[in-house]
């Protein structure tokens, strides 16, 4: 097992955002977390990448407990992330943004740059354009490409389809598949459950800070419970009471 999230709890102030989520990611897989807005998907991802502290539980990556490891060291350990809202550096060129991805590494990145430009020909065209002036889809490509520059063992993707035109979504998803095919494990957070389930090997359904269901992705594709999760109904569980 490459990444194991064990029963984590996360609080925002006094409000519990995550109330015991456990996720496992095996090497070579694409695993997806799906769920409605506010289900705790992004928070889970931020906790894994070290942007949030956890109140209890643990995160084990590559056999090492990284629960207390600062975020920037997790990148060195092998976690790469394309964050929610893409997080492109607006004042840097595409090229500089990609170099930022390789911030923790040293040596020659020519080969890696070439690979990213090969995956995203659009980025190659816009090498010297400032990140902030690009379209949403291009920014998403840049965010993914940038994360790849760190040569991560696990690539964390936070809602890569958000705000994109359907055609662009298709394009992004096929690139994710290609990245996975080339050997990078992917943990994908998506609101677009249909697309994500088609792509992923396994999936977890989140609802108000808890995992309500986990199964191979294909099995969930037509699951009526999944639809229900998006509408906020319970999955045979009682509605979790708010912890004050």
């Amino acid at each position: 097992m490459l990444l194991e999230v064990k029963d984590i709890h996360v609080h925002y102030g006094k409000i519990a955002a995550i109330k015991g989520i456990s996720v496992e990611v095996n090497e070579g897989e694409i695993v997806t977390l799906i769920g409605a807005n506010g289900a705790g998907k992004t928070t889970t991802l931020k906790t894994i990448s070290g942007l949030r502290g956890l109140t209890s539980g643990s995160i084990v990556f590559d056999g090492q407990d990284i629960s207390k490891m600062p975020g920037h060291k997790r990148v060195i350990a092998g976690l790469g992330q394309a964050p929610e809202g893409r997080g492109v550096f607006p004042g840097m060129t595409v090229h500089d943004n990609l170099l930022m991805g390789a911030y923790t590494r040293s040596g020659d990145f020519a080969a890696d740059l070439a690979e990213v430009y090969e995956l995203f020909p659009r980025l190659a065209e816009r090498r010297t354009q400032a990140g902030g002036t690009m379209s949403g889809g291009e920014q998403q490509m840049l965010a993914i490409g940038r994360a790849l520059m760190a040569k991560p063992k696990v690539l964390l993707l936070d809602e890569p389809s958000m705000g994109l035109a359907p055609l662009m979504v298709q394009q992004i998803f096929s690139i994710i598949e290609e990245i996975n095919r080339r050997g990078t494990t992917v943990l994908l957070v998506e609101q677009n459950a249909q697309q994500a389930l088609k792509l992923a090997h396994r999936a977890y359904v989140l609802e108000t800070g808890k995992v309500v269901k986990s199964a191979p992705a294909a099995e969930l594709l037509d699951d009526p419970d999944v639809q229900a999760a998006y509408l906020g109904g319970g999955l045979g569980h009682e509605a979790p009471e708010a912890q004050a």
Partner: protein
């Protein structure tokens, strides 16, 4: 490490205790609250007694420092709180309005010989006007730009006063008239309406009256539509604008109200001071009042009053430390901010805002909570 934890623990317990007291207060019925208010006012009136003074200020005349700096700082802090605490506008030149009020009293009093009460009204009007004059071109600026512009305005007022010989230049103005006296009125052996040079208490009572009026007005505004608009601007100006709050107009209003309060205090202070000069209006005073507001708990009136009291009183109380008192004052300021960044008595809403990092001026830029920080300390947007 362990000690740090117990300190943290203590912080949290203190905070919860404060919340508990606050809850009790909110549940208190109206008539009981009025009793508390009345007791507070009586307390304020009894404050300048020798027995309290000998503990509170062994090195300086207690009744005098109750008027200045304590009382003066309190009123100024209430005024600045409208601007900084309620509307969320960072004003680093609040002393300018205090100066305008002071000069209004001094100039009109000595040149035209008007009555103090009339000048008070005119002074308040003038200050509101100067608040609007400053606000009109600058209030469209955001956060820190406003800060430097207001700082500049404070300095411009002081330097202009210093450089203008027709209003006394660096010598300022002398022989400012006192408020009209009624020397025969006596209460508990104090001639409460005898405004002379020796007894500061009549001025102090006048100040208490001013403070009470100001507090009542500010409280009313806070609870009205205006207060809600300010809160909206403070938390998210863009959102407020989108929701149809005329942000510019409300920001102007906050500026004008803050300026008027500062000006009223300036008039009152000048009427006691006999003479004023431009050096009375240094930047340090603006900074100190701002420190009082933030330290007390920006936005929460009791907190702001407490903050002003502490800031004014500490250096006087510890005069015995002599040269070192300002050194210690600076260190205390840093320590207090580290220990209680939300202020001594923050309002609950503001505390939540500060935890969200949107309290008035937003959170520090490069802060990312990270795994070490506990969820309770930092929360995201």
């Amino acid at each position: 490490m362990k000690q740090k934890n117990s300190l943290e623990d203590f912080r949290h317990r203190l905070s919860r205790y404060g919340d508990g007291v606050h809850d009790r207060w909110l549940k208190t019925p109206g008539w009981q609250r009025w009793i508390v208010y009345a007791l507070l006012i009586v307390g304020a009136l009894l404050l300048p007694s020798e027995s309290i003074g000998s503990f509170m200020s062994p090195y300086t005349d207690w009744a005098s420092i109750l008027f200045f700096p304590i009382g003066t700082y309190v009123v100024l802090a209430i005024g600045l709180n409208v601007v900084v605490g309620q509307a969320g506008l960072l004003d680093l030149g609040f002393v300018a309005f205090y100066a305008v009020g002071g000069y209004a009293m001094a100039l009109i009093g000595t040149r035209l010989g008007w009555n103090f009460w009339l000048i008070l009204l005119v002074g308040i009007g003038l200050c509101a006007l100067s608040g609007i004059t400053l606000g009109a071109p600058t209030l469209r600026l955001r956060g820190d730009y406003l800060a430097i512009v207001t700082l500049g305005f404070g300095e411009i007022i002081r330097i202009t006063a210093r450089n203008t010989d027709s209003i006394g230049g660096p010598n300022g103005i002398r022989a400012i008239p006192h408020p009209p006296s009624f020397p025969d009125v006596e209460l508990f052996g104090i001639k409460i309406f005898k405004y002379g040079v020796l007894d500061p208490r009549p001025y102090y009572y006048l100040l208490v009256a001013l403070a009470v009026i100001v507090i009542i007005l500010v409280k009313r505004w806070e609870k009205s539509r205006v207060g809600r608009a300010w809160a909206a601007i403070r938390e998210d100006e863009d959102a407020a604008e989108v929701m149809g709050v005329p942000t510019f107009r409300f920001k102007m209003l906050a500026f004008a109200i803050g300026a008027s309060i500062g000006g009223a205090m300036g008039v009152l202070w000048a009427a006691k001071a006999i003479s004023i000069n431009p050096n009375d209006f240094q930047f340090l005073l603006s900074a100190t009042i701002l420190a009082a507001v933030v330290m007390g708990g920006a936005g929460n009136l009791p907190g702001v009053i407490l903050g002003a009291f502490v800031v004014a009183w500490l250096p006087e109380r510890f005069r015995g430390l002599q040269d070192y008192r300002m050194l210690i004052f600076g260190a205390v300021l840093v320590a207090l901010m580290i220990f209680r960044p939300e202020g001594l008595l923050p309002s609950r809403q503001r505390k939540a805002e500060l935890q969200e990092g949107s309290g008035g001026m937003g959170a520090l830029g490069a802060e990312v909570p990270g795994p070490e920080s506990h969820g309770e300390e930092v929360a995201s947007k």
